[in-house]
């Protein structure tokens, strides 16, 4: 320690002699290189436009920084390293440093202490890391690797180097999944933004981390964030299997049954109960993120049912109720708010598909009418003249709705909507006779009170020969005027209200 300090003290004196004797300087430099060989310093005096560990005539700024071991010592004792004992020196150019960093520009010109002296002390950043930062300020290139990623990101954040942070973010996106897994395990939460970046990257590769051989290594926070996403490219039943694997490795629930058979003391029983309760809460939280209604009935019976003692009963009930419902009955409006009832999106879907699903809802104006809503998402993606909804079942009949987004022969200037009673050919025509009263509505998505309702069509006869009825709803130019609100986020919502549907005897 003392010897190294002597070397640092001698060096400035030698540099002052450069102008007098070139030969002397050379000899001394060689001698100095031998002395500092452990730092692997390189003589860069010929490169005036570079930051350097050795001073040359062009340098007008000196950074005093702690070395790595000084930081380690300082962390153990106090939060500060005494600046008089800083041992790392980097020589630089004020102009270059100020050019790329607004922070340093202000630091060197604001009239405070640093702007009046040649030396700047930075107490909590190691000399090696800061050298790379200076190279970034000089060259716009930041040397990020697995070893220094965390330090680089933190220092760029501290000195508000947004470009540097972006380079770190881009580096994280290039990390291999195995390395990413190691970063997650070693993350100590020092920087929440950095942790979020790791998790974001994990979510982008969720099929790897949810693999049944690896899932047990995830932290619970990471797992919860992953399961929350819509874009996991795995079958729901496989996600369930991986979750079970994680639960079995990270909780005591699966081994609690064997524990109960063992004789334990009273104290041990008390601790075990507490741990078990915590695990139950965690497991319950995790299972709420599984979308059980998306699992097939057979898989529910053969794979899920054996673990029913772990799964909250309301989730199983919800799933069985959903699976037992006829497929043609429209989903209820409230069900849309439940993410478990919505399948996870398929990742490779590049072409937009217009909406076909029909949803039932409670009509606020009529207590006895049956109402469905048809939100046509990706309205502009409709390629055909006529867009048809999925089949849905009401009043014992199967129905469809038609929409003409560009008008049709009968109503060329209007957005026309039709209601069709789907015919079943094997049945006789008289069974198909229905006296129906219905009307359409068009939702104004900016202001619900401006929704348009169109005159009802009383006593419309649907039969085998005439099974489609409808009319024009709104002028096309009004529909496509986004400021009015009938089309919002490329979505047009049609409502159908059926007030009566009476079967007549032929």
């Amino acid at each position: 320690m003392e010897q190294k300090m002597d070397f640092l003290n001698v060096k400035p004196i030698e540099l002052e002699l450069q102008g007098l004797s070139i030969a002397t300087v050379k000899n001394n430099e060689q001698w100095d290189l031998d002395g500092f060989n452990q730092y692997k310093f390189v003589d860069e005096s010929e490169y005036e436009d570079q930051p350097s560990f050795q001073k040359n005539l062009s340098h007008d700024l000196t950074f005093l920084l702690p070395t790595l071991d000084q930081l380690q010592d300082g962390a153990d004792s106090s939060g500060h390293v005494d600046q008089s004992h800083l041992r790392g020196r980097i020589y630089a150019h004020k102009e270059k440093v100020a050019l790329k960093s607004e922070y340093f520009s202000l630091l060197l010109t604001n009239g405070m202490k640093e702007s009046k002296q040649q030396e700047i002390s930075i107490p909590n950043i190691s000399v090696d890391i800061f050298f790379e930062i200076l190279m970034f300020l000089y060259t716009s290139e930041l040397s990020v690797n697995q070893e220094n990623l965390t330090s680089m990101f933190l220092v760029c954040d501290q000195f508000l180097l947004e470009d540097g942070k972006q380079i770190c973010r881009d580096f994280i996106k290039t990390l291999d999944n195995l390395i990413l897994e190691r970063f997650l395990l070693e993350d100590n939460g020092l920087c929440s933004e950095l942790t979020d970046l790791y998790i974001e990257q994990v979510c982008s590769n969720s099929s790897f981390f949810l693999n049944i051989e690896r899932v047990s290594k995830l932290g619970k926070d990471v797992l919860i964030k992953v399961l929350n996403r819509d874009d996991i490219p795995m079958k729901e039943i496989d996600i369930f299997r991986s979750t079970i694997e994680w639960v079995s490795c990270n909780t005591v629930l699966l081994s609690s049954s064997s524990t109960s058979t063992t004789t334990t003391t009273t104290t041990n029983n008390s601790n075990s109960i507490l741990i078990e309760q915590q695990d139950k809460n965690l497991v319950s939280k995790v299972f709420h993120l599984i979308r059980f209604p998306s699992i097939d009935y057979e898989d529910m019976v053969s794979v899920v049912e054996p673990y029913s003692h772990l799964i909250p009963s309301n989730l199983l009930l919800e799933s069985y109720r959903f699976l037992s419902k006829p497929k043609l009955i429209p989903m209820n409006e409230n069900d849309l708010l439940n993410p478990r009832l919505t399948p996870r999106k398929k990742p490779n879907q590049t072409t937009l598909v217009p909406g076909c699903d029909v949803i039932s809802f409670q009509c606020p104006d009529h207590k006895k009418c049956y109402s469905v809503s048809w939100p046509i998402h990706n309205f502009s993606a409709i390629k055909s003249q006529k867009h048809v909804s999925n089949c849905f079942e009401m009043y014992g009949l199967t129905w469809k709705m038609w929409a003409y987004p560009a008008g049709e022969a009968k109503h060329s200037d209007s957005f026309s909507v039709y209601l069709e009673a789907v015919r079943v050919k094997e049945k006789e025509s008289y069974e198909f006779l229905r006296n129906t009263t219905f009307f359409f509505g068009l939702v104004n998505q900016k202001n619900k009170t401006l929704c348009r309702h169109y005159p009802s069509s009383p006593n419309v006869l649907f039969n085998y020969e005439k099974s489609v009825w409808g009319n024009g709803l709104i002028e096309l130019k009004l529909l496509y005027d986004k400021s009015l609100g009938y089309m919002d986020n490329d979505c047009v919502t049609i409502q159908l209200h059926i007030l009566e549907c009476i079967a007549l005897d032929g």
């Binding site: 202490k113 002390s121 190691s126």
Partner: protein, 771 residues
């Protein structure tokens, strides 16, 4: 371990105490604070885990600023005198300290917490979190400035008053205070401090000060001195505004000054205009012009006054010209020119060559030139102007330098623009130019072309196209004569001892009087004429030459007296003299037989020769005696001499008559001091009859022009009523002359007779285009 940036237990209170101590030093002007260490502390608080300390830090900063500002307020209030100085000193320290805190110390807090908080606020809700600098300024405004506002504003007001009174004042105090108000306004949308507290008060004080000063100054020193004073004060306040007012207020200040110092006294200023003009006080006029030109509409009465004054001076000057009915062109034109130059100079010096005043001068000169008492109901001005041009352009008694001539002619072109009846000028100028070119009496071709170029620029190419063709004819004639001589030499032809040259003039381009009498060319000239005629017809087939003998000149050498004389005579005179080569005495009948001149022309020509004493008129019995003597003496009367045909436009009415019984003989006793004698010819003189003839020609040209114009208009419109047609005809002809309506009506009637236009059936005031 993260390279020394490991998780550390944060003691918020300890770190905050350090931050507070350092920020206090910054706010009190200390320069020995380490920004890096302080920034590090703030950074650690902002990224502390598990919960960052951003909000406690912000609240502590806020409280700190409040306490600090309260302390500053006490310091300022404790200052008994010089409040503004202490206020500005404290403001400067606080503001620069806030700036450093905002940009450096708390930069991380601003970017990562405060800005996000502001963005998270719902739209329309007032923010409760501010950037550090804005926070500091708001606290200063609420807790300090509003409490001592009246006191500080009063101090500034007193300083400004002293500055206006000429006392020595610390200018930077006022401007720094103004800047501080603008900075405090930047945290508020209303921006009331500068506009309401400072600017309004400043402008009101200015208004009161100068209202009192201007009234008192006019009462004590008069309007002339006041104009200088006002200009000085406006300049002073302009300088003061640059220092004491924001740039957004400069226009308001300027308008206020103009209102007080000029607008309120503009009637007084405007009424002095006529006095300054009469006394030719150019400096006062300039001062008045500078002031009034600053306000909108300030110069309008002055323009009117100047125009009336110029007209008045001009009309009076012309009234003093003698011989109203037949004034001297030189005196007339130079009087007009003097008026123009006089007021042009005044406008240049005193009215800054203002376009409005140049227009006023044009209007006034236009009236003077066309409606003075000499030109009343006549077109005398263009006629006199043309005659004056002839004086300048002709070789004569006075020899001007070429540059001087060009200057004078340039001035004449300026006057020419004011003439209404430009066709009259054209007619007279064309006639005189013809005479100068044919007689070779131009001062210089270059000067002539200079004049024509000026007229072209004033009126366009068409106006001067005839003049240009006249010059072309002269040039081509010189070439033709040269070629003719070469032709004679080449073909060994002889035309005798006569030196012969010809001018070929384009028909229609020259203002020439027609030949008034038939004329038999003398035998000696017949050979020349026929030779040229033959030559010219081979060069230009289809062209016809028409000889104008009344415009020709000759130089004849005589030997009938004791010594030889060279006589310069017209062709008519030459024809008579050549008879005496073969006869001693001739009777009137014989002369008529030889020359075929009519009675009027013959009498005029003989009279001119008798007056020149070349010929003697005697009774018949005396002639026989003389004839005998002459025959015995063998006195030879050779007619040899140089003959030069030069056109002349002079025509002369016969002034005497001779008896048919007279006999004529040469005067052998003729003697003259000079050997070259120019025989006086009354053809050279202009007569009132010819003048009248010129005006008739002008009228005829005008009628033709009007008829052509009417036909063009009717052809385009097909149908038109009487009033509209007359209006449009006047518009068309305005550039050349001012037509009178009876002439237009007469032309319309003539065109109806010629069946170019017809009256619409049933409508007496409507015309249709026919044909």
């Amino acid at each position: 371990m993260m390279n020394g940036l490991g998780r550390q237990d944060i003691d918020f209170n300890t770190i905050w105490k350090n931050i507070a101590d350092q920020v206090y030093k910054i706010l009190t002007g200390s320069q020995n604070v380490s920004a890096m260490f302080l920034y590090e502390d703030v950074y650690k608080l902002c990224i502390a885990q598990p919960q960052p300390y951003c909000e406690p830090l912000y609240e502590n900063i806020k409280k700190f600023f409040e306490q600090h500002v309260d302390q500053i307020l006490l310091i300022i209030l404790d200052t008994k005198s010089d409040t503004i100085s202490e206020y500005l000193k404290q403001w400067k320290l606080f503001f620069s300290g806030c700036e450093l805190c905002n940009k450096v110390i708390f930069r991380y807090l601003n970017l990562n917490w405060i800005n996000k908080k502001i963005l998270d606020k719902k739209f329309g809700h007032p923010p409760d979190v501010y950037e550090i600098q804005i926070l500091g300024l708001m606290i200063w405004k609420e807790r300090l400035f509003f409490k001592i506002k009246d006191r500080v504003l009063k101090c500034v007001e007193i300083l400004i008053q002293k500055d206006r009174d000429g006392e020595l004042v610390q200018h930077q105090f006022i401007s720094q205070f103004m800047e501080s108000l603008i900075k405090l306004d930047s945290v508020d949308k209303d921006r009331t401090l500068y506009l309401i507290e400072y600017e309004a008060s400043y402008l009101e004080n200015t208004r009161q000060f100068y209202t009192r000063e201007s009234v008192a100054f006019i009462a004590s020193s008069g309007i002339s001195s006041y104009m200088k004073k006002a200009e000085t004060r406006i300049d002073e306040e302009e300088q003061r505004s640059q220092k004491y007012l924001n740039s957004s207020s400069h226009d308001k200040m300027r308008r206020l000054l103009h209102s007080i110092l000029i607008e309120k006294h503009k009637e007084l200023l405007q009424s002095e205009c006529i006095n300054y003009l009469k006394d030719e006080k150019l400096d006062e006029i300039y001062n008045m012009y500078k002031l009034l030109s600053r306000i909108e509409g300030g110069l309008a009465p002055v323009l009117e006054t100047v125009q009336k004054y110029i007209q008045h001076v001009g009309i009076d000057a012309i009234k003093s010209i003698p011989d109203r009915n037949n004034p001297d062109p030189k005196i007339y034109v130079e009087t007009l020119l003097k008026i123009y130059l006089q007021f042009s100079s005044i406008i240049k010096k005193s009215f800054n060559n203002d376009v409005s005043f140049i227009t006023v001068l044009d209007l006034a000169c236009h009236k003077i030139f066309n409606q003075n008492h000499i030109t009343r109901n006549t077109t005398k001005s263009p006629e006199l102007l043309a005659k004056y041009c002839d004086m300048l352009l002709k070789k004569g008694n006075k020899q001007h330098e070429e540059i001087e001539l060009e200057e004078k002619l340039g001035q004449i072109i300026v006057l020419f623009k004011y003439v209404d009846d430009k066709d009259v000028f054209q007619k007279f100028y064309s006639k005189m130019l013809s005479r100068r070119l044919i007689n070779g009496t131009s001062v210089s071709d270059d000067i002539e072309k200079f004049m024509i170029t000026g007229l072209k620029q004033a009126c366009g190419f068409e106006y001067t196209s005839k003049f240009q063709r006249m010059f072309n004819d002269i040039t081509l004639s010189a070439e033709t004569n040269e070629e003719f001589k070469n032709h004679l030499i080449k073909n060994s032809l002889s035309i005798g001892k006569i030196d012969f040259s010809i001018l070929v003039l384009t028909s229609g381009s020259w203002s020439l009087h027609s030949q008034t009498s038939s004329f038999i060319v003398p035998q000696e000239l017949t050979l020349c004429i026929s030779a040229f005629q033959q030559y010219y017809s081979t060069q230009h087939q289809g062209r016809k030459l028409n000889w104008l003998h009344h415009l020709c000149k000759a130089e004849a050498k005589s030997f009938f007296a004791k010594k030889s004389y060279d006589f310069q005579v017209t062709n008519f005179q030459l024809g008579i003299l050549l008879i005496f080569n073969t006869q001693e005495s001739v009777s009137l009948e014989e002369i008529t037989k030889f020359t075929n001149l009519n009675e009027n022309e013959l009498s005029r020509t003989l009279q001119s020769l008798i007056e020149a004493k070349i010929l003697i008129s005697k009774k018949k019995d005396q002639n026989s005696i003389n004839n005998n003597n002459n025959n015995n003496n063998n006195n030879n009367n050779n007619g040899e001499g140089n003959n030069s045909l030069v056109d002349s436009a002079n025509n002369m009415q016969p002034s005497s008559s001779s008896s048919s019984t007279q006999e004529y003989t040469v005067n052998s006793a003729y003697s003259n001091k000079r050997s070259k004698v120019k025989v006086s010819s009354s053809l050279q003189k202009e007569t009132p009859l010819q003048n009248e003839e010129t005006y008739k020609g002008i009228d005829e040209d005008r009628k033709l022009y009007l008829q052509a114009s009417i036909v063009r208009i009717m052809k385009a419109r097909k149908t038109m009523n009487h009033v509209s047609l007359i209006q449009e005809v006047i518009e068309h002809s305005r550039l050349r002359f001012q037509p009178n309506i009876p002439m237009i009506k007469k032309c319309i009637e003539q065109l109806i007779e010629k069946e170019y236009i017809t009256r619409a059936e049933g409508e007496s005031d409507r015309y249709l285009y026919a044909a």
